[in-house]
Symmetry: D3
Subunit: 159 residues, 6 copies
């Protein structure tokens, strides 16, 4: 009756949970996160985006490839055939924050929230990497699952 961690076997050792019995369904996960920076950096990214030096273009690629590597980065995460990955950015002027949103979809026996979260996290780290020469006090945060549909235990909406 009480929910339990599923990533441990009866002797308490970690395992990759067996999803063989689960039904394959069409699933989607949406995750969000943010990176905070100083005003100078925020403005530079916005300006660069308009010219060709495109911080967010590189972060976009990194987020997509990051989602594909979630199984390699997170030990108990299943290797998956992802159907689609999409990433978008939003500039929040009032607090010099860039918001990152990822949408990952699949037709599978297991959900893709970890892939969506890894996409956001990787995109944020990439923005950090490309701006660290001009700003040494950036912060990445608010990485969370926003929505999850198609799973057997029902949809999850955290918005």
């Amino acid at each position: 009756m009480s929910r339990e961690f599923t990533h441990f076997d009866e002797s308490g050792r970690a395992r990759m949970v067996n999803v063989g019995e689960k039904k394959s369904t069409s699933r989607t996960a949406i995750a969000r996160g943010a990176i905070y920076m100083n005003e100078e950096t925020f403005t530079k990214i916005k300006n660069n985006e308009m010219s060709k030096g495109d911080v967010l273009g590189v972060a976009q690629v990194a987020g997509i490839t990051g989602a594909k590597k979630a199984w390699d980065i997170i030990p108990m995460c299943h290797p998956l055939f992802l159907s689609g990955i999409n990433i978008s950015f939003k500039f929040c002027e009032n607090n010099c924050k860039i918001e990152i949103e990822s949408t990952v979809s699949i037709d599978s026996k297991t959900g893709v929230e970890m892939e969506a979260l890894t996409a956001v996290s990787t995109a944020a780290l990439t923005i950090y990497d490309m701006c660290k020469a001009v700003d040494k006090s950036m912060q990445i945060g608010e990485i969370r699952l926003v929505k999850k549909t198609g799973g057997l235990s029902g949809d999850v909406i955290n918005e």
Copy 2:
């Protein structure tokens, strides 16, 4: 005189910055981050840690291997021979938060803040993955550089 993004060439295209001219020095970076969860999950992790079902043990391994993969995850990040990686956790009872700290050291021409930040981010994602069956509203945040020593442009202390 104004600081510039270094990851773009003169035509505005992204590049991996040439550090060939930089001097090899002994460098260290310390990063920190956190994962927030509900009280049930927080208590379970603490209890599991005392028995053999060890969420943080898996997150520790993931954080270390994550640091080694920063070059693969972050497009403009240099491949590096890391000298040492250490990760520690702190339970913050009052707000059900686990704080993650990584220390990465190297003897090289370039710093290791991205490796330290990737270690923290990967450890947090791994905790998330192992607890998502019991808690669907966790949040990862406050990922930042805390300290950086040995670089040519002087030490950075964000604490």
Copy 3:
């Protein structure tokens, strides 16, 4: 009538065998192996396991991630969506040996014995790595398939 190597084409060149025509079935493979060490090391691992310095905890994670990388390590091995991976250890007091057993399951057109064997091999190498400062004469051995079910050519039991 005579069984033939399937990993070569008609000109004798290696290939990754085409399994497209095979039927997708639910399959399991169990592999086993062992690592021998001196008494001091054997006792330390056992004691560490009871406290927090957990050699086998790290080996467990390595075994699971190793199974997921079999396709990358073994040239002619198919990339697969593994359903579940489990690893367990047994202390054999009389000869200072730790026995490693892996169980890998999948719903696929091809078996997972290589994944199970790679899991055992990786777990053993990880134990070796973490103990090599105290013991320079360890030996890894007896890596073999113990059981295989669900394949089209019938079950295999080597016990």
Copy 4:
């Protein structure tokens, strides 16, 4: 009516195209490419092939493992369960060229031309690598899709 790039979302950002709605069919792609070299190198490879020093044997393995890594090398490429991979070589005496052909097959929602092209490209790079000590003016070229069957938009034949 006009065909459009599918790898961009409506805001012009790159994405990994969602193939979730597509039907899973049995698909094959055949790609070809070539490497040109001087006569000395060409003859050495042919001779080595007859003894045990087998440049093409290593290139064969590299081509197969390269196909399996297309998803990791090409940012917008889907991770896939490849059914089979085959590579063959042809010596063209008159212009000291080795022709490389790859055949990749799958049962999936998306085609495998990128896997076939990556196999050819990786095999060619490996031949280059193993011969560069004796020949510094090799050239890789003519990498192209030759045939593609099983896709929803009909077969493609470029021969």
Copy 5:
């Protein structure tokens, strides 16, 4: 007196050549390659580049990450700490060809021509992947070393 393949041991088996005795020097390699396409595709890429849908931006990232993975893709290639990677593109209007040039630099015991060639090859494959929905007859070619400096056997200039 005659030059020999260095990637084979005395029994004719492949090996990764030992460069331990070689001196560490500052080295650079420049490689070039091209992708041919039909006029429609060529024009679309040029136009997209001016707006935000940036095929070459993604290819640039892929080329840089490809260079970092040369050791993983090419079996006998050494793992290296690359100092810098730069990639540029040139539109050749008269024959609808995009030329790709990579510059890789390092301070090491071995050269980086394979990294430069892999960067070009990966960037070309990425352009192919992103345009294959509109053009099924593209061709990748002319991949070659253009210049190599800093090696112990003297500079190489193929231009």
Copy 6:
């Protein structure tokens, strides 16, 4: 005075040991292992080796690439710039065993025994994979360090 596991920090958590203070020296490690099979398989491999279907040729490539991936497979293993890798095989007629020997060399702050052991283990798994259709009772064993030179704690000879 008593030797201790070095892969744990003071709180008992695993870490990647800091080797920053160690001196860089020229180091070599030799490892050995074996794979046992039935007589039919043993004879087929020997015969194939004489024709072009070369099981050991593929295993050789796998062993070399395996050594380069030791840092990725073994969690606490340092990423390294390996100088050279060599693998050889010996047919032991009397007990249908193939012996595998690897030699790995480096100029570094840390030894390469794990790389040598991983090379042997990967070569053995590859032989297993390519023969499993004809032999379901093979066994991999006797994987051990044979010799280690150049380390700060003196040479190790286990022969």
